[in-house]
């Protein structure tokens, strides 16, 4: 009864079973990655771009000019100047066509009476629909302003300029 005939068949069978089991184990256990691995890198780059643009706008233009453009924009609620400066900084390229980054910006401040936070709209290049994959960048600016507008006197305050950026 005991012959040596089936040994290689058995080995082949065991090997095949192991391969199938391992494959099934890997397939079931694999993490589902819905976004490709480098999708976040463009977010990272856009965050750096936006932060740099805001930092540049918060630098006074020369020695005699003590207020940075961003500070003047917040103090005077000059949304159109923000649009011009920020959009030029973000989207101008050396080529013939500009880049197509969109933004919506506001600034947040504290209401001294109850320490609540108010946000005031600055400007937007396009309205938010909720479907954008936006990146948020912020910049602290010291301003001399009546905050909230009903305040009695203007004093030095810290406000947070917040910008959402996305490509479209």
């Amino acid at each position: 009864m005991v012959t040596e005939g089936g040994q290689l068949y058995t080995i082949e069978g065991v090997a095949a079973a192991l391969i199938m089991l391992t494959t099934a184990y890997l397939v079931v256990g694999a993490t589902a990655v819905y976004t490709p691995g480098d999708a976040h890198i463009s977010d990272m780059q856009m965050e750096i771009l936006g932060t740099d643009a805001l930092k540049m706008m918060d630098t006074p233009q020369n020695f005699t000019d003590t207020k940075s453009p961003l500070r003047q924009i917040v103090e005077t609620d000059d949304g159109s100047k923000f649009w011009l400066l920020f959009n030029n900084t973000l989207n101008n390229k050396t080529g013939a066509y500009p880049d197509h980054i969109h933004f919506t910006a506001n600034y947040s401040y504290r209401v001294p009476s109850d320490n609540s936070i108010n946000s005031s709209f600055l400007n937007a290049s396009r309205n938010l629909t909720g479907g954008e994959h936006a990146v948020r960048v912020t910049k602290w600016v010291i301003v001399t302003k009546k905050l909230p507008p009903s305040a009695a006197t203007a004093q030095d305050r810290a406000v947070l300029v917040e910008v959402l950026l996305w490509r479209d």
């Binding site: 490709p36 401040y109 320490n115 010291i142 030095d156």
Partner: protein, 129 residues
């Protein structure tokens, strides 16, 4: 093969080698997507710009002793907490106020920025005279 003749064993062996090497290559490629994602995510998660910004705005406004005005201190603490989800504290140990050190011996002012957003904690100290 299975009928126990010796023909073709090298072919089968090489076949096994090639298929296993493909298998391990596939394993490595499978992991590489995760590596790219987690690297970019951890770079985004680290609040480098927030920390720099806080530090810069405090130093820009502080006077030579390291003192910032109360409204600005409260602005930074409250707005950070509610809009950025980060706990920020700026404490100043002024020389002559007798807090923590002897004002007659130690003429230094000690400034400290504390930042914590739940993932990253950062403390910065400097001394002024």
């Amino acid at each position: 093969m299975a009928r126990l003749n010796n023909d073709g064993q090298w072919i089968v062996l090489m076949g096994f080698l090639v298929s296993f090497s493909f298998f391990f290559l596939a394993l490595v490629i499978n992991q590489s997507t995760l590596v790219g994602q987690s690297t970019a995510e951890s770079v985004i998660e680290f609040p480098k710009n927030d920390i720099r910004d806080i530090s810069q705005v405090i130093k820009e406004h502080a006077d030579n002793n390291g003192k910032i005005s109360d409204p600005i201190h409260d602005d930074i603490v409250n707005v950070s907490l509610k809009r950025k989800g980060a706990v920020i504290n700026y404490t100043l140990d002024l020389a002559g106020t007798g807090l923590g050190h002897d004002p007659l011996v130690d003429k230094n002012n000690y400034s400290m920025i504390h930042y914590n957003n739940g993932v990253t904690e950062y403390n910065e100290n400097w001394t002024s005279t």
